[in-house]
């Protein structure tokens, strides 16, 4: 089986995000990056499990600048066989990114293309579906389980109040949600091997950027917690009604 896992990087979850003065960009000074957890914990690990069960290769793909190589090698340390980075130095939108992935993947005959269900920074959930569209492949989003039997894939999605089970033929694209696999801690051997695995850098194809960030806004600071005396239920009700406006 030939498997592709598309990964992106996101700021480390404890990072305090600051914006640039004009509010159109995130200030990257001092920001530590990690691999997007949906990509790493679920998509990549499930791909590795499938490969371990049935043989094949797992390739990691990232669209981004050379700074991303460290995040990519983390994926190699966890167990991917090789990696590709499409060398794009500026921040681009989802459509541009999807176009680059599709251009690369179209000649590679992957059986499965994995994405995380979203990045934990931009929460777009867009790239996977767009790639599937460009490649004319079936797409299942937010999959919590994935089994492969020959060319038949059985994909489970968590939906409101229950589960949806979908059968579909490979090749296909899926985006991985919680439940698909469990985070793997890279072992020492994997970490040291990562350096020796191939990481190919390819040039992007020309494609227009169709959107522009007008402005980012930070959410309002959360107020401090109010403690209400258990004997004073009326006050609690009043606050929930008037201040929190939840009842």
């Amino acid at each position: 089986m030939k498997l592709l896992v598309c990964v992106s990087k996101t700021p480390e979850t404890t990072t305090k995000i600051q914006l640039t003065a004009d509010g159109t960009e995130i200030d990257t000074a001092g920001v530590q990056y990690i691999m997007n957890p949906y990509d790493e914990w679920y998509a990549l690990v499930r791909a590795l499990e499938l490969k371990e069960a049935a043989g094949g290769t797992v390739t990691i793909l990232n669209v981004g600048p050379a700074d991303n190589d460290s995040v990519i090698r983390k994926g190699l340390a966890i167990g991917a066989d090789d990696a590709v980075r499409i060398d794009v130095s500026e921040e681009k939108d989802s459509l541009y990114t999807a176009r680059q992935i599709a251009e690369y993947a179209k000649s590679e005959q992957y059986d499965l293309l994995f994405f995380g269900k979203e990045t934990i920074s931009y929460n777009g959930s867009e790239v996977g579906a767009m790639v599937a569209e460009f490649l004319d492949l079936p797409y299942v989003g937010e999959a919590s389980h994935l089994e492969i039997d020959g060319t038949k894939a059985t994909v489970t999605r968590d939906i409101e109040g229950g589960e949806e089970v979908i059968e579909v033929q490979t090749p296909l694209a899926v985006s991985a949600a919680k439940g698909m696999a469990e985070q793997r801690i890279p072992n020492m051997r994997g970490i040291m091997m990562a350096k020796r695995k191939p990481l190919t850098v390819v040039a992007p194809v020309d494609y227009p950027d169709t959107t522009r960030i007008a402005e980012y806004e930070k959410p309002e600071e959360k107020g401090s917690v109010k403690l209400i005396d258990p004997d004073n239920m009326e006050e609690l009700v009043r606050l929930l009604h008037e201040e929190a406006k939840v009842i």
Partner: protein
């Protein structure tokens, strides 16, 4: 829940210590910054998943002995196997032994993470590494084939079996003995006490690295040899019993999930042992493990103090209590205790001890790595000289730090709603095992300051002077450097006086205050470590990116200043004690101790 600072470990490895010599060596060339960071991240993940969650549980459901079996929580075995399978237990080994040739400096930074998360579990693993290292270094090919990978996987426990009822500090008095057999093996008779990891049901086998003396052989260290003595003998048909009997385990103040066993050999049938290294070289070879274990004990104490620091810091940031002196307004809200100067004193003390200890432990590890690749006298002697400090400073000052951590929590610290009371009990043993603090004082003053014509102390003075020379850039570092320079002058005077005493008097007189000297000397060493960190922070500060990074470097400079003002200042009193030739302790009649 935070128990250690990864940022601080990265600071030490990338900004304070110079690893370039290692990177230029064939053995360690693959360990660039990224490999180090990946390794530390992986260690943190393992610690978060397998070690920290069971720290309290291992205390509450302590190990127990029933029907001849030592029961520990299944989490112990799971944790050990996680450390084994991830490659941590054997990461520092060469490729020829399926290791990754990780520098000890990096390995020990990882170990500090495990020790902070749960020293009681980590210890089972790293004791096993230490025992396996003896087989790897001195054992026959057959022993290596039989034992190394099983131990590296965390499925077989390793121990160091030295202590006996009449031989604790004085190992040359051991009486456990051996008799050679025609087949090249040996029969072992005797008993060992307090053996950590000595027996438990979370592993398939226990492998004792045991010291015994030749039956009817010479007394003292000369007759002592080193053996592998497995609980179960590995053979073609699997494991068979080797008559190592567990008489019981000890009820302990702390580290209650980390077993210490009383073991008997050859009592219920023949116990077979396998010689490791040459006969009669036992104690010398065992020192490889003991030196490692001394650094390991320093790390364990540091890990505990680190966990206590972050627990008390978290509490101090949240607990409102009292108002600032002078604020008489009873309607004003209470301030968080982190705002009180005295709470900050207690937090800074902990930080100074934890990060000062980490710096020294990693510095020692770097000397060991450097020696491995260059075989230079300087690294070898500095490692030897500093090992007693690396063991005893974190243990002794760690006790004080954890006590202050508890103090920060007030009444809550004394209750078992918070981990402080457990950490307080757990850390205490570190100044007892692996040689009591006294034994390290004797080792430092009685042997190490004078070894090879005092060369080690000269090397240390040169290193310190270099750091003093680096301190010119800022007022803060200049002040610290001046205090350290003054300390070094006093130290020369103290050493001069003590060495004169050594020449003209009974060694009892010269060594009477060896523990005081150890404390005095150790404060200078940690002072040097703080100056080194402050200098690195001053270098990095102009290029710090973002508020967090700026605060990180400022915290280093400020903690260094704290250390010199509040802790290093103790050297003045210690010096006075050391220079007073009053012989108070020796001249105290035993009858007066009543």
């Amino acid at each position: 829940m935070q128990f250690i600072s990864l940022r601080n470990l990265r600071f030490m490895l990338h900004e304070v210590l110079d690893l370039s010599e290692l990177r230029n060596s064939e053995r360690f060339k693959d360990f660039d910054q990224e490999a180090i960071d990946f390794s530390l991240d992986a260690a943190q993940q393992l610690a978060d998943q397998y070690l920290w969650p069971v720290y309290r549980e291992m205390d509450r459901n302590k190990a127990y002995f029933k029907d001849g079996e030592v029961h520990v929580l299944p989490a112990v075995g799971e944790g050990m196997r996680a450390l084994g399978e991830s490659g941590w237990l054997s990461a520092a080994w060469g490729f020829e032994h399926q290791g990754q040739q990780m520098p000890l400096t990096v390995h020990n930074a990882g170990s500090l993470i495990f020790q902070a998360a749960n020293g009681n579990l980590a210890a089972y693993g790293f004791l096993t590494t230490g025992a396996a290292n003896l087989i790897r270094e001195f054992g026959s090919e057959e022993l290596k084939q039989t034992y190394l990978q099983k131990m590296a996987s965390g499925r077989w426990q390793g121990t160091m079996a030295l202590t006996e009822p009449q031989a604790g500090s004085s190992l040359s008095d051991i009486t456990t003995y051996y008799e050679p057999q025609a087949d090249g093996t040996y029969l072992i008779y005797g008993q060992k006490i307090y053996i950590s990891g000595g027996d438990h049901n979370s592993v398939e086998n226990v492998v004792h690295l045991l010291l015994a003396r030749q039956k009817d052989g010479p007394k003292g260290v000369r007759g002592v040899s080193l053996f592998v003595v497995p609980k179960h003998l590995p053979g073609p048909d699997g494991l068979t019993d080797n008559n190592v009997t567990t008489a019981g385990i000890y009820g302990k103040m702390g580290q209650r999930g980390y077993v210490a066993a009383h073991l008997m050999y050859g009592e219920q049938g023949p116990t077979r042992g396998f010689l490791v290294g040459e006969e009669f070289n036992g104690l010398k070879n065992m020192f490889l493990m003991m030196n490692e274990a001394r650094i390991g004990t320093g790390m364990m104490a540091t890990g505990s103090a680190s966990a206590a620091y972050y627990a008390s810091l978290t509490y101090a940031r949240e607990r409102p209590q009292g108002r600032h002196p002078g604020n008489k307004d009873i309607n004003a809200p209470q301030v968080r205790i982190i705002e009180h100067a005295d709470v900050r004193r207690m937090l800074l003390f902990q930080k100074a001890v934890v990060e000062g200890s980490i710096a020294l432990l990693l510095q020692c590890s770097l000397y060991e790595d450097t020696y491995r690749v260059t075989q230079d006298d300087r690294s070898r002697l500095l490692l030897e000289l500093l090992t007693p400090i690396a063991k005893s400073f974190p243990s002794e000052y760690g006790n004080e730090a954890v006590s202050l951590g508890m103090q920060v929590l007030g009444g809550a610290g004394y209750t078992d709603d918070f981990p402080l009371e457990q950490i307080f009990r757990d850390i205490r043993v570190n100044s007892i095992y692996e040689g009591t603090t006294t034994i390290h004082g004797l080792d430092l003053l009685g042997r190490k300051v004078m070894m090879e014509e005092g060369k080690a102390v000269q090397f240390l003075a040169t290193e310190m002077q270099q750091e003093i020379n680096n301190a010119e850039q800022t007022e803060a570092t200049r002040e610290i450097a001046a205090a350290l320079a003054l300390g070094m002058e006093s130290m020369q005077q103290v050493l001069g006086t003590l060495l004169q005493l050594a020449q003209r008097d009974d060694p009892r007189v010269f060594l009477a205050d060896a523990t005081v000297f150890l404390d005095y000397f150790g404060l200078h060493v940690i002072g040097w470590m703080w100056l080194k960190q402050a200098n690195a922070a001053v270098r990095a500060l102009p290029n710090a990116e973002g508020d967090d990074e700026t605060a990180f470097y400022q915290s280093k400079i400020q903690t260094a200043r704290y250390f010199f003002t509040y802790v290093f200042a103790r050297t003045a009193g210690l010096r006075r004690t050391l220079l007073a030739e009053t012989r108070i302790t020796l001249n105290t009649d035993e009858a007066w101790l009543l």
